[in-house]
């Protein structure tokens, strides 16, 4: 019983961390209609920028997160404008493949600047909190709280601000939005900034838990993608639900299978979802 409960808690924790880049991935998909796999490198870049701000400049976690968000957002927009944007007219598949190439390029730029070694954030060591048999790390709790705040801020932004509403309008019906004077090109830039920025923040949150290296983002890419597919590609609440479900599924799988099979859970989840409900848990139409 304790084992199950601990797995459930761990799953929700990792799920919440995956949810942040998954929101970014889904937002970009909703507005631009292609899967941007370069978010893996955005997550890595975010993790390294925050590490530089934290371990290098001595900033606490929250300002380091903010810097990571801004820098990754700008990197995402620049990368989009100079590479992916030119390919958009050629169809989603071409852009998706190009984003994989972009991912490799950016990942290696990170290697060039920061080296290949693992790095750890400069954080106070703390003992796990114990609730009876259950253990929770204070760092994990902080990350969970940060993830929750970021998600809440994103929902409020989408629901109540002019830009958020314009983003949803373009995602739902770009032509009709244009008749209303919404410029999809501007919305696309804002969306990429947000999506890349959120991926960067996700990279930091994931890195805080363990350590970071140039493959930090790449290792969670499948989980992020699986979460977005599970929840329904293009649906922001779906990305959160998908990430939490996937996190729990991965942890539960660990009880019965060796840890090496953890990534398989993502593949299996995508497979099951695409077979039985291709539009995902909260998706409105088939992707």
């Amino acid at each position: 019983m304790t084992l199950l409960l601990q797995a459930l808690i761990n799953g929700l924790m990792t799920g919440a961390l995956i949810a942040v880049p998954a929101i970014g991935f889904s937002a970009i998909f909703a507005v631009l209609r292609y899967p941007n796999f370069a978010i893996a490198s955005y997550a890595t870049i975010g993790a390294f920028v925050a590490w530089w701000a934290n371990a290098g400049l001595g900033l606490p976690v929250v300002p380091a997160l903010a810097i990571a968000f801004a820098v990754t957002g700008v990197v995402g927009v620049v990368a989009e404008e100079i590479s992916l944007k030119r390919l958009r007219d050629n169809g989603a598949l071409i852009v998706a493949i190009a984003s994989i190439a972009l991912n490799l390029v950016l990942e290696n730029i990170v290697r060039f600047i920061f080296g290949n070694d693992m790095k750890g954030y400069d954080l106070p060591l703390a003992r796990d909190l114990r609730f009876g048999e259950l253990r929770i790390g204070p760092q994990q709790l902080q990350s969970l709280a940060l993830a929750a705040i970021i998600m809440a801020a994103m929902f409020l932004f989408l629901r109540y601000t002019r830009f958020g509403k314009a983003m949803r309008a373009v995602a739902d019906n770009p032509d009709l939005a244009r008749l209303k004077g919404i410029d999809p090109a501007r919305i696309a830039i804002v969306t990429v900034f947000l999506g890349a920025g959120l991926s960067g923040v996700g990279g930091v949150l994931i890195g805080l838990d363990t350590s970071i290296d140039p493959l930090t983002g790449y290792r969670v890419l499948l989980s992020v993608f699986a979460a977005a597919v599970l929840g329904g590609l293009g649906s922001i609440p779906g990305a959160v639900v998908g990430a939490l479900a996937l996190g729990v599924a991965e942890e539960l799988a660990l009880i019965v299978t060796p840890a090496t099979y953890r990534t398989a859970v993502g593949f299996v989840a995508i497979l099951i979802m695409l077979t039985f409900r291709p539009r995902g848990i909260l998706g409105e139409r088939a992707a």
Binding site: R178, L179, K180
Partner: protein, 254 residues
């Protein structure tokens, strides 16, 4: 004859494919003009170019006597050129009423500051638009579904919302892209009656439609497009008896 809309030498390419290869015609003020042609003739693309969604490569579009080529879509709507979409998808999360209000012309309340100040002018305009929305909904028999999300409507009702949305923008000329396609026969009759009534009230309409019986009943003049060009125009009987039109639809006889 004065023209509500004049299209001259309009050309448009997609990646080297010449989709529009020189379209010329005029829609007379107050007319119910029909635009027909086989699939792939470029009718919907023409609407997209005229309404500012696509940028033409060459040629000109005039609204009345005003040159409007390459104006952004929202400026064209403000100038009175409003179009409907063949796929009447709308915004899935909005209700019928919200759709109508969203496309009401000139809302001061759209500006956040004005909305917060709730100025007298903004409130008055909103009141006017609300009345207008109810009026249009009654006219299109959508008044009993005003609060439903558009996703809950039947295909035919979605088409009516699409027309209602266009009417809210106070059009001078209405471009309708197959408003009756996929609609059951009795609703088709209703939509046709609505359109006839609107046209009698002075609204200029340009209609893309594949149902020739409808075109024959509703439209004069009828413009025929084929392979990205205007083929001919005239009354329905004139174009229907034109051998080139028959060839365009049925393929050339060898």
């Amino acid at each position: 004859m004065t023209a509500a809309l004049t299209i001259e030498g309009l050309k448009l390419d997609f990646y080297g494919v010449h989709v529009l290869r020189g379209v010329d015609f005029a829609v007379p003020v107050g007319s119910f003009t029909g635009l027909i042609g086989p699939n792939g003739a470029g009718k919907s693309t023409l609407f997209n170019a005229v309404s500012g969604l696509y940028r033409p490569k060459a040629g000109s579009v005039r609204l009345g006597s005003v040159e409007t080529t390459s104006l952004p879509p929202e400026k064209l709507v403000a100038a009175g050129l409003v179009r409907s979409f063949q796929l009447a998808r709308g915004f899935p999360k909005l209700s019928v009423f919200q759709h109508l209000m969203l496309y009401g012309a000139g809302q001061p309340g759209e500006n956040l500051l004005a909305a917060m100040l709730r100025s007298a002018a903004a409130r008055r305009r909103e009141q006017e638009l609300t009345e207008r929305a109810f009026d249009i909904a009654r006219r299109l028999k959508l008044d009993h579904v005003l609060d439903n999300p558009v996703t809950a409507l039947s295909g035919g009702q979605k088409k009516l919302v699409e027309i209602g949305r266009a009417l809210m923008a106070a059009p001078k000329i209405l471009l309708l892209d197959e408003p009756m396609a996929g609609v059951n026969p009795s609703l088709t009759e209703q939509i046709a009656d609505h359109l006839i009534a609107l046209n009698r009230d002075g609204l200029t309409i340009c209609l893309i439609e594949h149902d020739m019986a409808l075109i024959k009943r509703l439209c004069a003049p009828v413009i025929v497009m084929a392979e990205g060009k205007t083929l001919t125009q005239g009354s329905f009987d004139e174009v229907a008896s034109d051998i080139r039109v028959q060839e365009a639809y049925l393929g050339r006889r060898h």
